[in-house]
């Protein structure tokens, strides 16, 4: 009886919690984060000209 209850609970939890299981979706979120950071870095550098020199691959 306990075993059956445990299985049912696990199944229910899986159904309710799809999370970030989709790799395409995760990649999209990571991409957005990187884009945001690149613009953020540009804005920070633009306001502090003598700060860290920009990375070459972003030139």
């Amino acid at each position: 009886m306990k075993q059956t209850k445990g299985i049912l609970q696990t199944k229910r939890r899986v159904r309710r919690e799809p999370g970030l299981s989709d790799p395409d979706f995760r990649a999209l979120l990571d991409h957005l984060g990187r884009l945001l950071a690149q613009e953020y870095a540009l804005l920070i550098r633009a306001s502090t000209p003598e700060a860290t020199p920009p990375r070459e691959d972003l030139q």
């Binding site: 309710r16 919690e17 799809p18 999370g19 970030l20 299981s21 989709d22 395409d24 979706f25 995760r26 999209l28 979120l29 990571d30 991409h31 957005l32 984060g33 990187r34 884009l35 945001l36 950071a37 690149q38 613009e39 953020y40 870095a41 804005l43 920070i44 550098r45 633009a46 306001s47 502090t48 700060a51 860290t52 920009p54 990375r55 972003l58």
Partner: protein, 184 residues
């Protein structure tokens, strides 16, 4: 600097069970030490406290946990890339720098995710457009679209034509957290 669960709850002035819930749902993953079975305790970084505050604010708006997790994932990628580019971690202290642009999370119509960067001077930048439907619509039912920086006219159109606009000011959250840490 690290915080036990008790210290984190006291600093943020929230009940411990709310923080435990977010950890158990894997919304916030302790940076310092995760719980391993009975008797072990979690330890959190200052960055984790920022995650907690943001997650709690989003939960107040009754946004699904999956939505919160997605936002925190974007911020982790943001942090990693910003550290590679600037050499410093932007969250949460970096957002308080005088020259830091104001970072805002925008949720349009309760399902589309955008971020806005507003420098002290100059044009506001809007990024995103990720469709975060209710988990039931995830998987094959979803269609992933490309995301990126919106042109000013496009950003204006998207924001103006949304039925609902939810704004969460991440810079203000960082500021409030700093004050709480100083008072603790």
């Amino acid at each position: 600097m690290s915080f036990t669960l008790t210290q984190a709850a006291k600093t943020l002035r929230v009940a411990q069970h709310k923080l435990i819930h977010l950890c158990e749902k894997k919304v916030v993953v302790p940076d310092v030490r995760d719980a391993r079975g009975r008797g072990s305790s979690r330890e959190f970084s200052e960055r984790n406290l920022f995650d907690f505050v943001l997650a709690l604010e989003m939960r107040k708006l009754e946004l699904p946990v999956s939505f919160v997790r997605a936002v925190l994932r974007v911020l982790r990628a943001f942090e990693k890339e910003a550290k590679a580019l600037l050499g410093v971690l932007p969250l949460p202290d970096g957002l308080l720098a005088v020259n830091a642009p104001r970072l805002t999370l925008l949720i349009l119509d309760g399902e589309r995710l955008y971020f806005r960067l507003a420098p002290a001077q100059g044009q506001v930048r809007v990024f995103g457009g990720i469709d975060i439907r209710h988990p039931r619509l995830r998987g094959r039912a979803r269609q992933h679209q490309s995301v990126g920086r919106l042109e000013p006219a496009e950003a204006n159109h998207v924001v103006t034509n949304a039925r609902t606009r939810t704004e969460i000011d991440l810079s203000q959250i960082a500021r409030d957290l700093k004050e709480k840490l100083q008072q603790a």
